[in-house]
Symmetry: C2
Subunit: 180 residues, 2 copies
DNA sequence: CCGTTACCGAACATCATGTTCGTGACCATG
DNA sequence: CATGGTCACGAACATGATGTTCGGTAACGG
């Protein structure tokens, strides 16, 4: 890829992350992004079709990072049973922590659905095998509950950033029993 | 209040609910509302400062209805302990069911935060006494989890409308143990 | 060195929100 | 019924954001 392309793309992402730490996604304008990134308006739109497309790429990149790192670890260790899931969850939290500063900006208002959409899809895969059909509640309901419980735990974390990943993980497993 | 005022206000609400059943809040324009309500643009803005203000009024009205009816019932019966909360929850679900058709429109994308903001605030009050400090997880975390679990149960219900309020209530208490 | 490709920036089109204003209809009083 | 005050009307306007077009310029890579 052309060096100029990389530079522009990088500058846009950089500016975007910076803005997200001070303002909610909905209130960030393309103008602010291109001013801070110091690229032309046209350049922005050749890289990203819309503002939403930027957010999507951004989220996709975060989660690829967060979850692929997790998969590597999984290959290396290959635990089984309860311990494995706990380790994975904690590990995910560690990787999410790196992007913590952006979370409030993304999660407030409009960007929420994009971010959570990606996140919950990934979590759904991860928890899908952990649900046992036991009571009357449909599989779907229970899976949905666990996915949301974890997503909300992360959101809660964003408002109480002083806790460690291990603590958050602990709170989650304590509050949502039955996860293996 | 002037009859003309009531008529306009009612017409706007009516049009809004109707539109919400077919389109997400974010995609509904003021133009659509005033066309369907058959009122002037000026009229709309004398009744509601902004489009968001309309949504807020709308949500406020729904929840006043849903929760105040619940409080009446509470006064009449005044159960205590587990049974009471279950009855209240089921009752809330019954009242929410009346507005079910609007939910997908409100919950997708932008309106979500307004609706959920109101909803969770109310639920927070309701569940606040039900949380016992037992494990390591902070009170705040546990309360947040229960509130969200219920809110998400309602959202799930919106995607699976064939279940009854009792069933949803049952799923909720089965999935989230420890609620009194 | 040269063709290709990306960037620039200013202007433009479009669309939705919210405002202004003069006019006319309605309503609650005397 | 009369009359003053309130509300509704609609067209035009201001604003602000998104996304597009285009001719010119500079950097890249072979």
């Amino acid at each position: 890829m052309d060096r100029r392309q990389r530079k522009s793309r990088q500058a846009i992402f950089r500016a975007f992350t910076e803005l997200l730490q001070e303002e909610s996604y909905a209130r960030i304008t393309v103008q602010q992004i291109i001013d801070l990134a110091d690229v032309g308006r046209t350049t922005f739109y050749t890289h990203f079709e819309t503002k939403d497309a930027l957010l999507k790429s951004f989220c996709a990149e975060i989660f690829e990072h967060v979850f692929s790192a997790d998969l590597n670890k999984e290959k290396t260790h290959d635990f089984s049973g309860e311990h494995d899931t706990k380790a994975r969850v904690t590990h995910i939290l560690y990787h999410l922590e790196e992007h913590m500063a952006c979370l409030p900006g993304i999660l407030s208002g409009d960007g929420d659905s994009v971010f959570m959409g990606y996140f919950k899809a990934r979590l759904g895969e991860m928890f899908s095998e952990s649900v046992r059909e036991s009571g009357k509640a449909p599989y779907d309901f229970v899976l949905n509950h666990r996915v949301n419980a974890f997503a909300e735990a992360v959101r809660w974390w964003g408002r109480h950033p002083d806790y460690t990943p291990e603590e958050i993980s602990g709170f989650f497993f304590e509050t949502v029993p039955g996860v293996r």
